[in-house]
């Protein structure tokens, strides 16, 4: 399972960077979206894929028995998803406003503030 995930994550990173290098601001935001998804999947995978073993402690014991899934990365991923959601919502509104003002879906037309 892990090699497959690694491939998928690598593909996502590559696609994200490719999209971010395009001139269109819409594609830029799609790139950011893919990038954050890739990072989330990566965290999810780093802890190891454990199947059907929730980290529950049986009654009367202090530790879970046998090998269980690590819950911490899942909590981390959940937080990261929420943050990415908020930030990308902002990014979408930003490109909409930018499009309204600049009247172009083109990063090359947004060079006024560059030096």
């Amino acid at each position: 399972m892990e090699p497959l995930m690694a491939l998928a994550i690598g593909l996502l990173y590559a696609a994200a960077i490719f999209m971010m290098l395009r001139r269109s601001i819409v594609k830029l935001v799609i790139g950011l979206l893919l990038l954050s998804n890739a990072a989330n999947l990566l965290i999810f995978t780093t802890a190891g894929m454990t199947r059907g073993a929730p980290p529950l402690i049986p009654e009367g014991m202090l530790q879970p028995v046998g090998e269980v899934a690590d819950p911490l990365p899942q909590a981390v991923v959940l937080t990261a998803i929420v943050i990415a959601f908020g930030v990308l919502a902002f990014a979408v509104v930003l490109i909409r406003r930018a499009y309204e003002i600049v009247k172009a879906d083109d990063l090359d037309k947004m060079k006024d503030t560059d030096t």
């Binding site: 971010m20 601001i25 830029l28 950011l32 990038l35 954050s36 890739a38 990072a39 990566l42 965290i43 995978t45 780093t46 802890a47 530790q63 879970p64 269980v68 690590d70 819950p71 911490l72 990365p73 981390v76 937080t79 990261a80 943050i83 908020g86 930030v87 902002f90 990014a91 930003l94 490109i95 406003r97 930018a98 003002i101 600049v102 990063l107 947004m110 060079k111 006024d112 503030t113 560059d114 030096t115």
Partner: protein, 532 residues
């Protein structure tokens, strides 16, 4: 239970929340902006003196023991940064009252300011690497919204670059956290430091170190990752520019200091040269970029980049004295750079433009403003006896002791180049006569019935400027006691075992001495199962 570690984070969050409740009441929001930031300053003083007497102040959130819960920890570096946050927060709170337009205030300027301060304070105090990411995002989201408040074309264009590159940095940071967790199985920074020291020196650790360096390098605007900064910092309302210039990039620098002295100290041999030349190139490109500019805030933005180089130079030399000098540079730069931006705001208010060519004659018109600018600008260039001189003096001495002669020489040369830019502003804005073709009306100015500027608003803009200029002077005059604190920081950062002990307790660090690298894998497995 040490409430003073949590309060610098909680207070701005609380002020922001109360401020949101009074969404429609402008006077109330303005009152909270000042009162909340006064409270923040008092709490940061409390924390500073607590850390000064105890060395480390820690708090485990929810009373979960150390590697499992989130730790808040203040060492001397955090305490000093929090103190600067408090000072700049209050200065901005007062300055904003006069400089911020009603349109901006109506759309939540003050709540966002509080939220930004909460994010900055959280990043300085947390002892958990993922929590650091979360505070970075809190800070970023607030800064995004502040950056585009007003919605002018330049702001949108600047914001797209700012948002994209900062999100890219965040994702690199997050990826590095994920890989780090996969390698060591913990997120607590002290615990990570322990386990990385126990681990065999593998290529993975170096890859992680480089990822952290790139992520924080983007946030800190180091060469060659700084291009978002001069493209965006001169676009928002001037109080926002000043707040960003004073605090935001410094959070990136702080994180570099924290991560590379605590967690990746064993990779420094490998990264030191890269960081050193990165720092040197940051200084040079920043100052050369500024030399070509004729817009007040753009010159200052490029100088932020250049000054970041000095701070990273302190880290790259990696001796206690150099670290002390680097932190001195941070403290000095926060005061001086914020002040220069604030002054640019006043000159804009008086003459209606940021273009140096169109300005002039302010020395005759406003001598005290000219004096405040003189102090700040020449402090930035490192003229004795101002604060910048001592920061540079310590760094140069550390550089000579470490035998990095070329880097030290370039650092001194950059000082002269800085002086050139500052003299350029001085000549154009204050010394030369106002050009005849200046028809730009003073903008956003509350004008009375007789057509003159309303006094109280300007008074509120002058007050922070004068206080910060005096602070720069005092840092220079009382350099010795400040240097004592800086040396304490240098010693603390170079002995990470104390930090680890403060977080995990004495037993953990004693235990670590007994553990051999071979047993490390079992240890990780064990702790992951124990994780509640």
């Amino acid at each position: 239970m040490r409430p003073e570690v949590a309060l610098p984070v909680l207070l701005p969050l609380l002020s922001g929340a109360i401020s949101l409740l009074f969404w429609r009441s402008r006077p109330m929001q303005r009152f909270i902006a000042v009162a909340g930031n006064v409270a923040l300053l008092l709490v940061s003083l409390w924390l500073f003196f607590a850390v000064l007497s105890d060395g480390y102040v820690t708090m485990q959130m929810g009373s979960w023991p150390a590697p499992f819960g989130i730790t808040l920890i203040a060492d001397m570096l955090s305490a000093v940064m929090i103190l600067m946050t408090g000072i700049i927060g209050l200065a901005m709170g007062i300055y904003s009252l006069a400089s911020t337009g009603r349109g901006h205030e109506k759309f939540g300027y003050y709540p966002l300011m509080h939220l930004l301060l909460a994010g900055v304070a959280g990043a300085f105090l947390t002892g958990d690497i993922f929590n650091l990411y979360v505070w970075f995002e809190v800070m970023l989201v607030a800064s995004f919204a502040l950056l585009i408040l007003g919605g002018e074309r330049a702001q949108m264009e600047g914001a797209i670059k700012y948002v994209t590159l900062n999100l890219l940095a965040s994702v690199i940071f997050l990826t590095a956290i994920g890989l780090l967790y996969g390698t060591v199985g913990t997120l607590n920074m002290a615990d990570i430091a322990l386990r990385l020291n126990e681990a065999e020196h593998s290529g993975m650790v170096e890859v992680l170190a480089v990822m952290f360096m790139v992520a924080f390098g983007i946030k800190a605007a180091a060469f060659p990752l700084f291009f978002w900064l001069p493209a965006s910092y001169h676009t928002p309302p001037v109080a926002v520019s000043a707040l960003f210039a004073g605090l935001l990039t410094k959070v990136g620098v702080y994180s570099l200091f924290r991560v590379f002295t605590l967690m990746f100290d064993q990779t420094m041999g490998y990264l030191q040269d890269i960081m050193l030349w990165g720092a040197v190139l940051t200084m040079v490109t920043g100052v050369l970029g500024a030399a070509a500019q004729y817009e007040f805030r753009r010159i200052l933005s490029f100088h932020i980049v250049s000054q970041i180089g000095y701070m990273i130079l302190g880290l790259a030399l990696y001796t206690p004295l150099a670290i002390a000098g680097g932190v001195f540079a941070i403290v000095h730069n926060i005061v001086v750079k914020t002040n220069l931006f604030l002054i640019s705001g006043i000159t804009h208010r008086l003459q209606g433009t940021y273009q140096l060519k169109k300005m002039g004659g302010l020395y005759r018109e406003r001598p005290w403003l000219a004096v405040a600018f003189f102090i700040s600008a020449f402090s930035l260039a490192g003229i004795p006896p101002l604060s910048g001189f001592f920061a540079k003096f310590v760094l140069v001495r550390a550089g000579l002791e470490a035998e990095a002669y070329v880097a030290t020489g370039i650092a001194l040369a950059v000082g002269f180049m800085t002086l050139y830019s500052m003299v350029k502003i001085w000549n154009e804005v204050f010394w030369k006569a106002l050009p005849e073709d200046n028809h730009v009306p003073p903008s956003q100015t509350p004008v009375g019935d007789d057509g003159r500027l309303l006094k109280p608003s300007l008074w509120m803009m002058y007050l922070p400027v004068i206080v910060l200029a005096v602070m720069s002077l005092l840092i220079g005059v009382f350099a010795e006691p400040i240097m004592l604190v800086m040396n304490l920081i240098g010693d603390q950062l170079m002995t990470p075992t104390d930090y680890i002990e403060a977080v995990l307790g004495a037993s953990a660090s004693a235990e670590s001495a007994l553990i051999t690298p071979g047993t490390q894998a079992d240890l990780v497995g064990e702790s992951m199962e124990e994780t509640p």
